[in-house]
């Protein structure tokens, strides 16, 4: 369990030069773990994992994957290495059918393998098979998320990186998404997850980091973090005054 598969070292990254959003963050993900990154709005959680996925320019630090330096490697090479990223929104191709969304991700498989792999995915996600001809843009939010995760799994990734998979979903689908992630981990895939829904994420996670202003401020065992007063402090203390929509830790039910 303790062999690191993904390590982020002192990472500085941002969309514009000189304006880093991630400011010296370091996190480690060990093989077989579910690691959760929490933090207030604007803490740089999404930017952190987008930088790992090669989508946000990195100005300092390193990303090590499977022992190799993948810092600022082009985004399209990541799946070849075994790192699959699921963006938060717009994570399906809306005009393509469910099946084409899966097929288009088979590019790195041998063309002979693709049909069998898609059949396996359908066996795991029967809902997707029922909707295989539907344009992905017409799926419900939960099904869209399912398709995005299924598509990421198609290339047998070692690590699955997800940006707020429960965002915008109804409570029923939130539960479904987290159950799905638990099952995926059981199948041997390591998971790195950014979440606003701290309670649900910590319930399935092994370890968690709290990211504040682009840097990890706290780290711990997921189950213990839920009741950790430091975490509540970091969340509430760092909440920008203007951001009325910031979700306080545990929504007042804990801490």
């Amino acid at each position: 369990m303790s062999e690191p598969v993904l390590a982020v070292r002192d990472l500085e990254a941002g969309y514009e030069p000189g304006v880093p959003i991630v400011r010296g963050a370091s996190i480690t993900v060990n093989k077989g773990e579910i690691v959760v990154v929490l933090g207030p709005n604007g803490a740089g959680k999404s930017s952190l994992i987008k930088a790992v996925a090669g989508l946000v320019p990195i100005s300092r630090g390193a990303v090590l994957f499977d022992g190799k330096d993948i810092t600022a490697a082009p985004a399209h090479t990541m799946v070849h290495r075994g790192l699959a990223f699921v963006p938060q929104t717009e994570n399906v191709f809306p005009l393509m059918s469910v099946e084409d969304n899966l097929k288009v991700a088979c590019g790195i498989l041998k063309s002979r393998e693709s049909p069998a792999r898609i059949a396996e995915i359908y066996a795991t996600f029967p809902d997707l098979e029922r909707q295989r001809k539907t344009a992905a843009g017409n799926l419900s939010g939960g099904q869209r998320q399912m398709l995005a995760v299924a598509r990421a799994l198609i290339v047998h990734p070692k690590v699955l990186v997800l940006d707020e998979p429960s965002a915008g979903l109804s409570p029923k689908f939130v539960a479904m998404v987290f159950e799905m992630l638990s099952a995926i981990r059981k199948s041997g895939v390591t998971i790195l997850l950014v979440e606003q829904n701290a309670k649900a994420a910590l319930a399935i996670g092994d370890r968690a980091y709290v990211l504040v202003e682009g840097k990890e401020r706290h780290e711990g065992v997921a189950a213990e973090l839920w009741n950790d007063p430091v975490v509540a402090e970091l969340y509430l203390g760092q909440r920008p005054k203007s951001a009325g929509k910031a979700v306080p830790f545990g929504k007042g039910s804990a801490a």
Binding site: A53, G54, L55, P74, A75, H76, T77, M78, V79, H80, F85, P87, E90, N91, V92, F93, P94, L95, M96, D100, K103, V104, A105, C106, G107, I108, S111, R151, A152, V155
Partner: protein, 302 residues
């Protein structure tokens, strides 16, 4: 009423449609209006003409196929011309567009394509002069089809060629991994990269397909009308109108848009007067932009 305009419209429409496929692909995948697309047509046509000349210099006079106006040299030359035009588009992208694209401002790329258009055209005038030329000066006998409609063997052959090409491109776009990658890139570029699509590779394929089809459209004009350095530039407005009417990014849309504009132009000539021909694509473009800016098969940008 004479229905000849239907045949004329279908012919003009398929030329516009073939050109519009390139315009719509470039627009949806590279996100800019390539004003040099018309000049790819002209360059492709002149390249084909040059190869025809080279072949006849080597093999002497070759008799035409059946009742067509051309023989195998033109077919071979067209294939060479298509490859040449695809490579020309690729080269222009490498030395010009790709560099400007990296700066991230679409309008600069559009202006650059306008400049490239002028430069390419002037170069053609310099090399081949601006005097019109022809693949063949032979006169073809049009066959009556009834209802006062006449069609020449060349016209039939070219309509068939256009249909075959359109169906092939549609199948490439929908049935092959490369085509799906092109669709993916046009719908969401960041997500396309995330799932492992090499954007540079897809961009290259896009230029080659667009360039090759522009060459065919140009050669069609060359066979049916004449070859001039301005032949492609004059098609620019109808091609853009067709691409926008069909919905940016849609191959069937571009072809249907081309046919509608071709038929509208031809019927305008028949019913109103030839001087209104050029206004037709402009009017259609305006109406589409006001009434349904996403076109027939388009989708709303996120």
């Amino acid at each position: 009423m004479n229905l000849q305009f239907v045949v004329d419209g279908l012919l003009t429409g398929s030329m516009i449609g073939l050109g519009a496929i390139g315009v719509t692909l470039t627009y949806s995948i590279l996100r800019f209006s390539n004003f040099a697309h018309g000049d790819f047509m002209a360059w492709g046509t002149y390249a084909t003409l040059a190869v025809v000349g080279a072949i006849s210099a080597m093999f002497g006079k070759v008799s035409p196929i059946g009742s067509l106006s051309f023989g195998w040299p033109l077919i071979v030359a067209l294939v060479v011309g298509m490859a040449f035009t695809g490579l020309l588009a690729l080269l222009l992208d490498m030395v010009l567009f790709a560099r400007l694209r990296r700066q991230g401002q679409a309008i600069i790329v559009v202006m650059a394509s306008f400049g490239a258009s002028m430069a390419l055209r002037s170069l053609l005038e310099f090399i081949f002069t601006s005097r019109p030329t022809y693949f063949s000066r032979a006169i073809q006998i049009a066959m009556p089809l009834g209802f006062g409609v006449r069609i020449t063997p060349d016209q039939i052959a070219l309509l068939l060629l256009a249909a075959v090409l359109v169906v092939s491109v549609h199948l490439i776009m929908t049935r092959t991994q490369t085509g799906r990658a092109m669709q993916a890139l046009s719908q969401n570029a960041a997500l396309a990269r995330v799932i492992g699509i090499d954007v540079a590779k897809v961009v290259r394929v896009t230029w080659i397909i667009g360039g090759a089809l522009a060459c065919v459209a140009g050669v069609m004009i060359g066979i049916l009308i004449q070859i001039r350095p301005f032949m492609g530039f004059d098609m620019l407005l109808p091609m853009f109108a067709a691409a926008i009417l069909g919905g940016i990014g849609s191959v069937p849309g571009a072809v249907l848009g081309g046919l509608i504009i071709g038929l509208a132009e031809a019927s305008a000539v028949q019913l109103i007067g030839a001087e209104w021909r050029a206004a037709v694509s402009f009017i259609i473009l305006m109406v589409v932009l006001f009434v349904r800016p996403i076109g027939l098969f388009g989708f709303r940008e996120r």
